[in-house]
């Protein structure tokens, strides 16, 4: 009973005081903390260059963490390579170049489930149900698909391993309003099925509308944290990050 309770309260992802950067001596993230509980949908917003993508990469092990810890279900995974995090149930969709352009749709999905090739058929059926557009295009090269289709494929690839935590870096970027809605619907659907989601978004209003909680990141630090809808109505957040037009709604 007690073990059960602890499991419930341990966040799926807990990153604390993350310091990371690309160039020696230049920290892009300067002590950034973030938490995602089981089954939670968490949004991260912030101005361009705030370090949102950097945070996702650092958490996922694609970028070396200079200080701070990353815990997965309470276990310290700081500095572990990305492919190990995949094995531990984390999926990641990068902001740019999020598909293998020279591979076919099918090969992209096969690579998604690289660690467990036997699961391919079962998982492919599952993600194709979520993204029907992919089923008809198995043999198409990913590089020749439209931006929206690519975004679907990128998410499908990351879902192939049945992750318990999905990191999405701007899934709606560059899509028409209709496609954006479609993507957000899918994200909600995925989250509804029990997958914890950390979503970085430029489309702050839409993101905060569907998120349970949101973080506002600025210059590598947490600026605000709160319930999605609270942030949406916070005067300071509106003034600084959402733009005054947001007030009109």
């Amino acid at each position: 009973m007690r073990a059960n309770k602890r499991e419930r309260n341990t966040p799926v992802l807990a990153a604390e005081g993350i310091v990371a950067g690309y160039l020696p001596g230049v920290d892009v993230l300067r002590g950034c903390s973030i938490e995602v509980g089981p089954g939670e949908l968490v949004g991260v917003i912030g101005p361009n260059g705030a370090g949102k993508s950097t945070l996702a990469k650092a958490v996922f092990g694609l970028l070396r963490v200079r200080a701070g810890t990353v815990r997965l279900n309470g276990e310290d995974v700081t500095g572990r390579p990305a492919h190990e995090l995949v094995r531990r149930g984390v999926g990641y969709v990068p902001q740019l170049q999020n598909v293998f352009a020279s591979l076919t749709v099918e090969e992209n999905l096969r690579m998604g489930v690289y660690l467990r090739p036997r699961d391919y058929a079962r998982r492919a059926a599952a993600v194709e149900e979520l993204f029907p557009v992919l089923a008809a295009r198995r043999r198409q090269k990913a590089g020749s698909m439209s931006g929206g289709e690519r975004q679907m494929l990128a998410m499908a690839r990351a879902l192939m391993t049945e992750p318990q935590l999905l990191l999405l870096d701007e899934p709606s970027a560059g899509l028409s309003p209709l496609h954006q809605d479609h993507v957000f619907d899918r994200v909600r659907e995925i989250n509804g099925a029990g997958v914890a989601v950390l979503m970085v978004e430029q489309n702050a209003r839409r993101c905060l509308q569907i998120c349970h909680r949101g973080y506002v990141l600025d210059q590598g630090r947490n600026a605000y944290t709160g319930r999605g809808t609270d942030l949406l109505h916070d005067e300071k957040v509106i003034a600084c990050y959402l733009g005054t037009l947001a007030r009109a709604r």
């Binding site: 694609l62 390579p81 990305a82 492919h83 293998f100 690579m111 998604g112 660690l115």
Partner: protein, 334 residues
Amino acid sequence: MRCQRVFTAALALGLVMLPAVTARARGEDAPRGPVGPAFGGRALQALVDGIQFGVIIAITAVGLSLVFGTIHLINFAHGEFVTVGATFAFFLNASPAGPGWHLIPAAVAAVALGALLGAAVDRGVWRPLRARGTGLINLFIVTIGLSLLLRHIVLVLYGTRPGSYAQYDIQSAIGLGPVGITPRDLTVTVLAVLVLLGVAVLLQRTRTGTAVRAVSANRDLAEASGIDVRRVVLFVWMLGGGLAALGGVFFGLVETVTWDMGFKLLLMMFAGIILGGLGSAYGAMAGSLVIGVVAQMSTLWFPVDLQYAWALLVLIVVLLVRPQGILGRAERVG
């Protein structure tokens, strides 16, 4: 701009045609010229020789291309993988100091050594230097040093004397119409084609091969998909080393084993890879084939000593027309 490009291409083409035209004008003075009753037969023969040369270049070039595709390193020491394979097989097979094995097990051992050498370069040079943040240009220079080092180790151990393997040395050609080919050369060509097909199947149909292509396409995303990129890179090094060694044995069989054979072949490999489209394994195969055929066909008109130069000229001409190479794709914008 476009005018200039067409002009340069035309100029180069003219250069190629000019000697042919003069040879024709000389008529009977030039019995080896492009006219005369036997020319068709000789051209066919050169084509067959060229295909044979081309598939051997292709076997050695595929590894170079895969290494470039996955880690963007131009491995200047790749030619030495070829030499090491050929001379090691020679030691096992025909050297008085060696155990005198039959060529087939000797070739297998040479391929294993080539793969081991590839692994050693990965673990001993590429990985540690890359982990310290050494740039690609610096690493390219390091591979030039490695090439010199390996070549001279071979020179000390093997010497300058050209050698031939103990088996399949002298054979008489079997005639197929106007074309003559020894059973040895025919076997080498067929084996080389089979190996190339095998590599294609490996890349296209197996999980590891798809992972190699995935790493080439997008390294970070491969890592994000759960692929252990470092293991894939190690595999590519070993595959490339093994194939280079096999190509070395093949080349030593149809020509001779020398201490600098791989270095000489390296230029042809580069030409084949660039011609085919950088980073594409199939491009490397196609490009190498073209280079081999051009090099051999050029001997119909020109001195054999110039055959490599003609191959490089064709490279320049093709790049003027198709800067991305035969199978390469123009970079997608946006």
